[in-house]
Symmetry: D2
């Protein structure tokens, strides 16, 4: 089994290293990851400049681009990379609810969809995780299970793991993405030269975080597993839009 | 009516200027746009450094960040900006099928969803558009129609306009997103210093582009209008995932 | 007479626009300037990625690179640009003493040296200049005087202009660069996510700023004009270094 | 003895690692280096955004900024760093003649001048050096010699080492910087989307490269050592400029 591993925290991230090590028990692991932290990169793709790669002593391939660039490059041309699955992470910090839209971790996993293969994005629910090995063990279990018993093709699983010892997990739970309120206001400040600057504020509080959501699952100590899609069409709105448009032209 | 306008080609883009001018016939227009071309930026959000703004002589506010940064900034703190609708574009180049995932134009529109207001992303099906005024007229019609007769809250419309005179449009069509094949291979080259570089290849050819898709509509000369969602949960897979997970833990 | 104009504040800078307008009274002006603010760029040259240019409606050529990139590009290949002189500015903020080493304004001027032609870097002694026309008039005078009576080939003049009406200038003064003390300490802070960040501190106070220096001249209301060289060899140290090295190998 | 080590190729560069290891025989080595390749960065200083550091497992401090940022940060605030000397390198590629102006390696060394301490920039005359240990041995010799018998305060030595075994060096030579002709023309190309791009061309051929220059020394197999200054005033031109200005105002 060949496993392509990437992330958005960069090739030096402890989470990435722990993940790659753990997955080696299941097959051949190939790591293609950004040269630096690209958190918040979403599906950003580098079109205006060429990319460069560097081979690390530990076998990792480092790319001077985004998470999406890394997986795109790996799947459309880097020689010798023909994975059976794409795994992205272990992210330091949760990717829950609306965060998923901005997440480079999830974007890297999603980029694997064109192969018709399963992809997994895996995140720790802590910016300073103490139990990366818990998430690594979860990743190994999910990949092994997918090998034994595949889910539908191109499935993308968004996995969030509470930061606790494996033995203290409450279990695994299939969830839907919750939703947040609008983000906190921007933070206005002045730089040392007196000029006005703005920091993007923190994500908003949870709005839809009840039973069934990923928010609720991790709060209760479960590993939250949300199946994702990439079809952004709001199919349910097609009929009413059609009618509405008749009044337009 | 207050209209927030942004884009991903940058505040200097002719498409943006034409759009802002046209929408002024409907109400107050506020433009908050990136300082340079951010095509392919997707929902990328700038978290590691602060943002700066600059007021242009023409009233536009220029941000040294991504399309998502622009709309986020506008909606979470820039004083005096309380729009009734967000319009992003006019993009030079189509945003069809899977392209939508990477599009900064669509991301800017999407960022308006937290307000419970409608958003429109509008693109010309040409990298060197000759008929920007056609798309501008389409934008005015859609915004006017939304004001008269609102669609469901938080609706996001992804609009693609053929590059032809308005009178030669075949009409408006509600569509779903088509799908592309895997992208073309990366293009390996050498820089003038002899080092290997890689360019991301072109988007793949159309795979699912039959009747009902956005690809099909614009090919037939229609304005394609796709309602988008931001809920990435693959709800149809939840039950089977639940069963599958019982074998996992 | 053909005059190449650039700067480091970017092609939108009022200082640049005022300068280009004023110099048009002397000959043909061609502007090639960075797309955004590159203050502090020094002689930074972009070698790892290609550059792109954009023609502005006002005839300016905008480059997505550093000040040095701009002049380098203009002098080694952009068609139709064969200047008799390079003028860089008008910078918003002084370039005095050690600042010159970091200045993109001075770097842009310096890049003209390979042509054996004179170059001028011109800066206002204020970050928020009220009298850009004073500096513009100084620039016109210097360029006109260089045309009448050339100085030695490849001369680079670093000009700093007090921010006051032209009639209130005390005169022109040939100066040497003064020196500053070590910079102020870095400013440690936390970003909104709690992570430690560091801002480069302000430039240090003046150390060598007595009679004859540029610091002294502008303080007294003079236009300070320092002839610069690009030969960084410390010739006076060659003999003692030679002797010292005999004990080394 | 405390030695601050930096470079412009980034903290992962083999040249940096070999240098730090070799200098540990002389005292305590502290490495503060850029997170990625910053070749060509010159004295570029990051003023518009804050910097972040990361401690590497090997004790290196990595900065998300330029070579100048690294040494500036180290000398104006990072706790516990009070070096007796600054050494920058080992650069992969020569820094000869006019190259010095653009070199991040030399800029990092130069930034140490405010301490009144000696600084050394050391480069291999090869982009793919085979004999980094030769340069490391040269660095050790020079630092040891400076400790025994100091040169004048704030001396900056620009050292270029031929890529050969130490035993095959022809000796050490004090040199002046040579000069190059104008750079080769820019290289115009098209990106995969058909847009015009420009690559900065190679450095120009040698113009002033005769006896006494750094070009000549390395060609003859010597280690070239050039004492540098940072006073950019062209003192010899001050008198004639003074006279010339009388005709100006």
């Amino acid at each position: 089994m060949k496993i392509l591993v990437s992330n958005d925290d960069g090739y030096q991230s402890p989470g990435l290293i722990v993940l790659a090590d753990a997955l080696r028990t299941l097959g051949e692991v190939q790591v293609v990851a950004p040269e630096r932290d690209y958190s918040g990169a979403s599906h950003s793709l580098t079109l205006k400049r060429p990319l460069r790669i560097r081979h690390q002593p530990n076998g990792f391939i480092q790319v001077d681009g985004t998470p999406t660039d890394c997986v795109h490059l790996a799947l459309t041309g880097l020689p010798g990379i023909e994975p059976d699955i794409v795994v992205s992470g272990i992210n330091h910090g949760a990717n829950l609810g609306d965060d998923v839209l901005y997440s480079g971790t999830v974007a890297a996993a999603t980029e694997g969809r064109f192969l018709g293969l399963p992809s997994i994005a895996i995140s720790m629910v802590s910016y300073t995780p103490q139990h990366l090995d818990t998430a690594a063990q979860v990743a190994v279990q999910l990949v092994a299970r997918l090998r034994e018993q595949p889910l539908e093709p191109s499935i993308i699983l968004n996995v969030n793991v509470p930061d606790r010892p494996y033995s203290e997990l409450a279990g695994f739970k299939a969830t839907r993405l919750g939703h947040r309120h609008k983000a906190e206001p921007i933070i206005e400040a002045r730089d040392p030269r007196g000029q006005t600057i703005y920091w993007i504020g923190p994500a908003g509080p949870e709005q839809d975080a009840g039973p069934g959501t990923d928010f609720d699952a991790v709060r209760a100590g479960f590993v939250s597993i949300t199946p994702l899609q990439v079809d952004l069409t709001r199919h349910a709105a097609l009929a009413s839009l059609d009618a509405w448009l008749t009044g337009c032209a």
